[in-house]
């Protein structure tokens, strides 16, 4: 029960959350801002944070696939299935949300230069209608991601405070070895 994820995976998990929160907060601010130098800076930071999520994803998946934790232990069958489905969907959205943002930026004709130093290729040519289409999909996927993150966090808290089964501690090292 006290087994936990290895620290690189734990680190990437919480780093991803931090980056998503940063990207989400900035993204929501951008919606209501009029153009200003600050807005251009926030656009850049939004894209940089989001692209970082995307860049870390392969490493995260690799680490995750080499874990030997028994996820179904102590769960009912539907619970095991539901958690596997939510985890799968979360990984898929960690891919789709930044990818759709990148597609939108490419189509809008505003390339991404990661942290101002690494120019990323445009995924599609400049096309206003396409940019609008990807914008809708980016927004939609973000909403789905946020909903699932909330569900995911609620489940973790349920494990910790109702089931007392140490599931949360796998991802929170400082909770381990506590009664």
């Amino acid at each position: 029960m006290n087994q936990g994820y290895r620290w690189p995976l734990v680190g990437l998990h919480w780093l991803t959350l931090l980056l998503i929160v940063v990207a989400y907060v900035i993204g929501s601010l951008l919606e209501d801002m009029t153009l200003s130098p600050l807005k251009l800076k926030l656009y850049a930071w939004h894209k940089w944070a989001g692209m970082t999520v995307l860049f870390f994803l392969p490493l995260r998946l690799l680490l995750r696939l080499t874990e030997r934790i028994d996820h179904a232990a102590g769960l009912l069958r539907w619970e095991a299935r539901a958690s596997a489905a939510v985890h799968g969907a979360l990984y898929l959205l960690l891919l789709l949300v930044p990818l759709l943002g990148w597609l939108q930026s490419s189509a809008a004709g505003f390339s991404v230069v990661w942290f101002g130093v690494l120019p990323l290729p445009d995924l599609v040519g400049k096309d206003k209608a396409l940019a609008e289409f990807f914008k809708e999909l980016h927004e939609g996927s973000v909403n789905l991601l946020v909903t699932l993150v909330a569900l995911h966090a609620a489940a973790a808290l349920y494990h910790q405070h109702v089931r007392h089964d140490g599931v949360l501690a796998r991802m929170v090292p400082w909770l381990r070895n506590k009664p």
């Binding site: 130098p37 251009l40 800076k41 101002g116």
Partner: protein
């Protein structure tokens, strides 16, 4: 009658000087700026060209390009609105950016440099614009690019200096019909 004819001949422009018409649909005046280190292309939707030259001897010709500063296409509607404001082009007070070539120098076959003045936002500076002139059917294509500094014309100062680079490039593709 004869005197009148001679008088008219004197008033008319020299016979070699054709006035060329711009094929606006095939022509572009563009700029490449850098914001947050990202190169971004834009352009102008409306510009007028006055050109009169002999394709065999463009050095002796006259060229003038008037660009409607309110017609900038920055890639986003809010950008288009922004650059009309006083901090940028101040399009209400300065609707036109004008390049008029004073003379043209032949550099090589089909390659020329136009020397003249570029006036934007009430300020005028000397400019040398290299260009190539190539035949396209019965039209001629004048194509070139030159660097420019926003600060030289007071375009987009203030806080914008942090996020939009001072240096930019202007590109032009002008298809001229006889």
């Amino acid at each position: 009658m004869k005197t009148l004819f001679v008088l008219l001949m004197c008033l008319a422009p020299p016979v070699w000087a054709q006035d060329w018409k711009l094929d606006a649909g095939k022509s572009q005046v563009q700029f490449v700026i850098k914001q947050m280190n990202v190169s971004t292309e834009g352009g102008f939707r409306r510009f007028i060209v006055h050109a009169s030259f002999d394709p065999a001897k463009p050095e002796a010709g006259r060229f003038r390009v008037d660009v409607d500063t309110a017609s900038a296409d920055t890639g986003s509607a809010e950008g288009d609105d922004e650059v009309k404001r006083p901090a940028w082009f101040d399009s209400k007070a300065h609707p036109w950016a004008i390049f008029s070539a004073k003379n043209v120098r032949r550099e090589a076959d089909g390659r020329y440099t136009a020397f003249g003045d570029l006036a934007i936002k009430g300020q005028s500076h000397a400019l040398a614009a290299p260009f190539t002139l190539t035949r396209q059917g019965n039209a001629w294509l004048a194509r070139g690019r030159f660097p420019l500094k926003r600060s030289a014309y007071g375009i987009g100062g203030g806080d914008w200096t942090d996020v939009v680079a001072d240096d930019l490039e202007v590109r032009f593709n002008l298809v001229l019909l006889p």
